[in-house]
Symmetry: C2
Subunit: 297 residues, 2 copies
Amino acid sequence: MANAPFTIGIIQMSMQAAPEANVKRAEELLREAKAKGVQVACLPELFASYYFCQSENHDYFNLAEAIPNGPTYLKMQALAKELGMVIVASLFERRTAGMYHNTAVVFDADGTDLGMYRKMHIPDDPRFYEKFYFTPGDLGFKNFDTKFGRIGVLICWDQWFPEAARLTAMQGASVIFYPTAIGWHPAEKAEYGEEQWNKWQTVMRGHAVANNIFIAAPNRIGLEPETDGGALEFFGHSFICDTSGRYIENVDEKFEGVLTAVINPAKVEKQRQYWPYFRDRRIDAYGKLLQHPDASN
Amino acid sequence: MANAPFTIGIIQMSMQAAPEANVKRAEELLREAKAKGVQVACLPELFASYYFCQSENHDYFNLAEAIPNGPTYLKMQALAKELGMVIVASLFERRTAGMYHNTAVVFDADGTDLGMYRKMHIPDDPRFYEKFYFTPGDLGFKNFDTKFGRIGVLICWDQWFPEAARLTAMQGASVIFYPTAIGWHPAEKAEYGEEQWNKWQTVMRGHAVANNIFIAAPNRIGLEPETDGGALEFFGHSFICDTSGRYIENVDEKFEGVLTAVINPAKVEKQRQYWPYFRDRRIDAYGKLLQHPDASN
């Protein structure tokens, strides 16, 4: 498979209420990515709409679409083919009546559907009511062999789980993409805002180090008001870091555009020789990772 | 069990060739810790000697001691009792003829031996020839209920393994201590020095975030020449971070002394309610964590 250096790009953008506007804006930014030489592009989580999980509203199930052949799916597939660029697109998947997933589809550079990853860890927090909308994924942790290189895809809340990064990295990918929608409760921003984006970056930079893997996390930005009067301000701070957790690109909560980095799989493999964690994993002693903790204090 | 706030302290120190000098210096610094109000203290890895794993030399097995009742063991036990302070002491354990471990013993504030942790992940890298000396631990990942609070202990190379941090944190500890001996190859320091201590801190700060746990990592400092003409310069940068991965104390490669922090288990539990990763772990989907990866690229 492909093992030459390749250029990745992640898109940080703000969303509008009308889905068509978001898909159009995503297209503009994907074209910008192409112009910057990007070969593998990733959009933020659920980029086609406002972050509807702010409230539990049955009407929002109407935002979902079938995979394959929903409108956003088809648009992204056509763009991948036209631009000759791999696109990782996060979609609200209607699997069947009454069953929905938070899903990322990987389109190869010729538009081929390489498969999908269904978000495995589903959050539920005030204004992040994802358990109401999404059945947890049933496809496990995956890699995708694109024209340009092997990649892993996880989604947002997955980023807090070292297990997910490990299981993805062990399949050989040189980079994990984390399409994300994370933001501040406006009332908390002043006190906790910096702590929150910092810990969000730190945990993923830790995964980069522990797995000798690049991490690329595109988040959305902007204030999104909800019909119940509440709102979330998405905090941006999208970043790409290398296998040592060092920032290659790192933006604030205002930047709108494309972050890029060159990934060399041969260098990643060399890092895994110099920092050989896979060699020393104690698979005989990890059994309790498959259990929940019991009360012990 | 104890659930009130407690003060931890970690000791960064340089070593000398003579073991007696190191134990004496450790005693001085433990007394300094006590004077600073420390209730739970942790020394660097294998503090009683130079880092002998720089070379594969059978003579160095003579540095090992029995647990219990070796000389360093008895000295640390007596100090814990005298000072009324928990001491985490990293020892070179002679288990039986031809079998040695890299082991940390936890002495409670009355000198009681609360048990030991035997380093589970053993490195082997040029000048870090630990696989020559140490049989990998067979006691699994542990917590220790001290007079002042529940703690976890891992050792050095364990820090690159999120599995170890997770399995330790799931037992309820509010803090993980990582006694460490990590340093620079002098020829690499200029080019890679900052990257190396940065990634060492980053991966542990990631564990702090992913597990809502404090991390306290005492490393040694100083240049240690080996009889083969080589040397390692231990890079210090000992630190304590909170459950968001924020530094509470963070020193350079020159500081010698005690770093302290106050840990409030009630606040740690609250963080675990606000960032409820344990709730959402996909124990049904983590099975491959108990396997090694197969060639896939």
